[in-house]
């Protein structure tokens, strides 16, 4: 998989870093590498929460009106709690990015098929021929 995740100490995330306790803030980052693209992800400066936009129950379950008993707990204000919240933001970013990539790939595949059909059949669909 072309995903590299690493935990780095914060270098540039505002004054809060300097005001934090003895343990430095932990900022998770991710890098996506593929033959045609390299992209870095950084959670940014927030606000962050453990309730992600892409990490909820699936639509099938949500549509059934099920009560979500499996929500993650809220992040505490400890260093590790803040890391959890930042990770959720990062995961949202990665999920959105990868989903868009998949959609793009599917659309390109469809375009290629269409091109092949037009070249081979000269744009004439056999079903349309009376």
């Amino acid at each position: 998989m072309p995903n590299l995740f690493s935990l780095l100490e914060s270098e540039n995330c505002q004054i809060q870093t300097q005001l934090s306790s003895a343990m430095p803030d932990l900022i998770p980052t991710a890098t996506y590498i593929s033959p045609d693209l390299k992209k870095d992800f950084h959670p940014g400066c927030g606000p962050h929460s453990t309730q992600g936009t892409t990490t909820g129950p699936s639509d099938v379950v949500a549509d059934k009106g099920a009560i979500d008993k499996d929500r993650p707990t809220e992040a505490s204000d400890s260093t590790l709690g803040e890391l959890r919240a930042r990770l959720t933001t990062l995961q949202d970013q990665v999920n959105v990015f990868l989903t868009d990539r998949m959609k793009l790939g599917a659309a390109k595949e469809e375009d290629d098929k269409d091109l092949e059909r037009r070249i081979l059949d000269d744009g004439v669909d056999e079903d349309d021929v009376e």
Binding site: T55, P57, S58, V60, V61, K64, G65, A66, D70, R71, P72, T73
Partner: protein, 370 residues
Amino acid sequence: MINLDKHIKPSRDYYLALGLEGSANKLGIGIIKHPKGELTATNRAEVLSNVRDTYISPPGEGFLPRDTARHHRNWVVRVLKDALAVAGLVGRDLDCICFTQGPGMGAPLQAVVIAARTIAQLWDVPLVGVNHCVGHIEMGREITGAQNPVVLYVSGGNTQVIAYSKNHYRIFGETLDIAIGNCLDRFARTLKIPNDPFPGYNIEQMAKRGKNFVELPYTVKGMDLSMSGILAFIDSLAGDMFAGNKNKLLVAADGSSVTPEDLCFSLQECLYAMLVEITERAMAHVQLQQVLIVGGVGSNERLQQMMAQMVQDRNGSVFATDERFCIDNGIMIAHAGLLAYRMGQTNELWDTVCSQKFRTDEVYVNWRDD
């Protein structure tokens, strides 16, 4: 005799292992203690904690990998804290951390192994990957005291008849398509039976009220069996029943209408008769007198009863555990993993990748020499 104590910590006369299980919809974490020396009737393993939380999907729905993995991810820390608190231990007390390496559903397995890797690094404790099926077998042997049984492993994802031979648990017969628990669960969905506590239990309760047996296909193929056709057949009967379609199979001998309870009863009788048949054949083949039933479906009382009847005729004995150990749990992973650890088996971090396909007979059972 095998020396199980080559890797004991100095100044200790026992071992402690934590096991994490999450190959399907149960998240289980257990802690086991082994005394030094061979495990015997007088020197037994001790369960220090065995905590479980189950992902329950809405009625009529199965558990999807994504939602199941989400459940495991969001509960694993809470369940872990509970398991440690009940055992009265801290992480660094442990000799090893055992995790289910397969078989199972990919996303839930992955969610749990990440937790295992994390705590192993936090506490500087070695990891041991465990085959889920071997976990069931070893825990069943330890709890029941069965020495060398033919094992019937029946759950939502697996249906196998197994016997030990030369350091491997050999598969003598198995399903050719879906597992028995999957067959029952899917029929429960057809009937819209709730998934709480689990569909098989609810089918069992309905079956107890069934009176009329509806003949279903009986599909034993040598030592193997097939259940997808039976499911399709009974699903179609249920469809006719709910739609009010005429079907002569839905009229009982006394002229009354067949009920959903009758269908549950008939499905259980048919499937369990098939299981009993292949188990009996395996017993005859390997000349063993003991049968051990493990896996979630093993907690079904009717299956235990039918198996006991067959085994009694052969002057043998049948062993089964209650739902604490039958249904997926963390303690069985801890137990089987600790046996492997005591023989020097550990997994480096790079070797902790989980696999959805990990067959029972792939495991080298070097903690047995019989």
